[in-house]
Amino acid sequence: MSPEKGNDLPESEYSGCLKTELTLGLPGGLETPKSGSKRGFSETVDLRLGSSCEDEVSVSTPPPSKAQVVGWPPVRSYRKNMMKNCKYVKVAVDGAPYLRKVDLEIYTSYQELLAALEEMFTCLTICNVVNERKIMDTSNGTEYVPTYEDRDGDWMLVGDVPWKMFVESCKRMRLMKSSEAVGLGPKASSKGLSIS
């Protein structure tokens, strides 16, 4: 998990407490003596790992560096699950200065995904050429081919496999310039392509 940021908990005693005292157990099980009558932030910590992301709730993973406080932020339980079943993958566009992230879980088809990418990278439009899906930068005519890296580390053409299989196996996406996408076929090896 990402390291604690300095300004998360301004008081140094709290950052100190969190590093040493986090265990998977109820607050009452902590052996640390209570410091006088002052109740600290750490003593209200509830060590139930939140239900917001299923992956985090597993005994063998280390606790998150920022522990969750009971009832904070003050949102109702059903709101905590909004990001459940989310699958965010990075999307890189050759030549664009920064990446974007899309949540593949919220789409049901390639068509929807590409529409969303069009939304995000507003200079692009989708041209459906026969059975291929190409994306074009209308300002300079550059064509892009949507590709993705699968679980095996191979770079694949978007659209070959059924949608659900794609969501399962996609780790990240890259809109590659057509001119670079030479020799791209099913299960093309990464050696044949220049990937920055």
Binding site: Q68, P73, V75, R76, S77, M82, M83
Partner: protein, 590 residues
Amino acid sequence: MDPDPKKSKVLTSNLPNSNGSSHPHSPFPDEVLEKVLSLIDSHKDRNSVSLVCKDWYNAERWTRSNLFIGNCYSVSPEIVARRFTKIKSVTLKGKPRFSDFNMLPRDWGANVHSWMVTFAKAYPFLEELRLKRMRVSDQSMELLAKSFPHFRALSLSSCDGFTDDGLKAITTHCGNLTELDIQDSVTADIGGGWLSCFPENFSSLEILNFSSLSSEVSFEALERLVSRCRSLRVLKVNDIITLDQLQRLLVHAPLLTELGTGSFLQELTPRQYEDIESAFGNCKNLRVLSGLWDATSFYIPVLYGACSGLTFLNMSDTVLQSGELAKLLAHCPNLRRLWVTDSVGDKGLEAVGSSCPLLEELRVFPADPYDLDHRHGVTELGFLAVSRGCRKLRYVLYFCRRMTNAAVVTIVQNCPDFTHFRLCIMNPRQPDYLTNEPMDEAFGAVAKTCTKLQRLSVSGLLTDTTFEYIGKYAKNLETLSVAFAGSSDRGMQCVLEGCPKLRKLEIRDCPFGNAALLSGLKKYEMMRSLWMSACNLTMKGCRLLAREMPRLNVEVIKDEGSDEIQADKVYVYRSVAGPRQDAPPIVLTL
């Protein structure tokens, strides 16, 4: 007409606050007084009326038909039944608000059953029951269904304790039901059989809301119900209902004024897409729209035809991007209230500022409250953008990860009419991210500038200065929520000594101790309630309060494994009913 036997003078002398003297030459005969008073609806006005004199007290109690009880433990069912005899509508609220955030034990209380038993005897003509944060068992629902032949409206907000069986009793037996409204239900997955129990000739329903239940209802039964209830104006379904099913419902009920859709995630054929688009296009009366689970840019455009009259758009159950929101808002020129998640970002809020000049209420919820990345969400920039374009803003709930004093000062200058200002900087004790100073000046500006402020939630790094400002300037403040704030007892004292209209004060994780608690001795009887958790209170301080103020109930909830000295969670409220009898062992009444 025959005078009601209960109006005889003999009974009136038994009243606890009767001064013993009567008015032999009252300026108004009873009947006239009652006629006049029966026109008064506001319960606050009625409470004032009842304090004028004995005659007015009686006239008021015989003409009151709507009962509002803000804290179910402040009075007992017996006392209420004795005083009021003609009640047709009851609103009853139970648990403290922090129960919404899992801060109370499950069996804390607020069970409606004892009220239901009393009402069944005392108010056979009861028509409406509105409950908030109460525990409602199936047994209570069954009693309700069988005891009130004229029953019309049931509204349950943040309630739990019932199952499919309880709802079945309602739908089977309440033949005149016009309203079944279940909001923010905390109940675990309950079955959907209840919907199929409306009799085939039942057609009086006007309001149906089951959006917060996860029940798998029968769509066929729902479709039949909607098609025969010609007066249906509010329909809010849950996410079991699909888009194409929704289309069929809309065809039966194009005159809906409020719609909560089901799931918006479904692969539609072009024909289905057209059908749903045209169904929405026919909804000319729509004012309120919600639901829209999993809505994406592909499907949101089907809504456009229904948006021209929308005044309230609730997109808080869907993760919308800025562009999608902007496009949608362009079709909603009459928006007064907007709820979104922070996925829309500052950019989305800029669109709000430029598209919604009539906006009065904005709520921005965190899509991912536990996001460790801190890269998503909204900032002070979004709030500023809204304040520049929406000058009529009076209600805001804003969850963000950074804020500055300067931004808030500008925001309230742009929008001085705030009545509800709830700002939640999600990281506890976070200072102004630009200057690194406490956020005192921000909330000081809110208190000073927003003279109509009724409700305030503060957050961020705050010293006692914030509370000095609040106590000094917030003359109309009724509800104050404080978390991880303040430097000493003085903070809480300032609020208790100022704020003349304070009714509800809820505090967590603040360095306020017994001295602060006891400084409000006189105040608590004029308030509905006080909540303090994870502060510096001790049992000794709480016992002292309980001893000094016998008409307050002082309850302490003990946390597991805590010592005998600390008072972990304290709930104080005024009551004429004395200590409650139904507290679980974990709750001590002092």
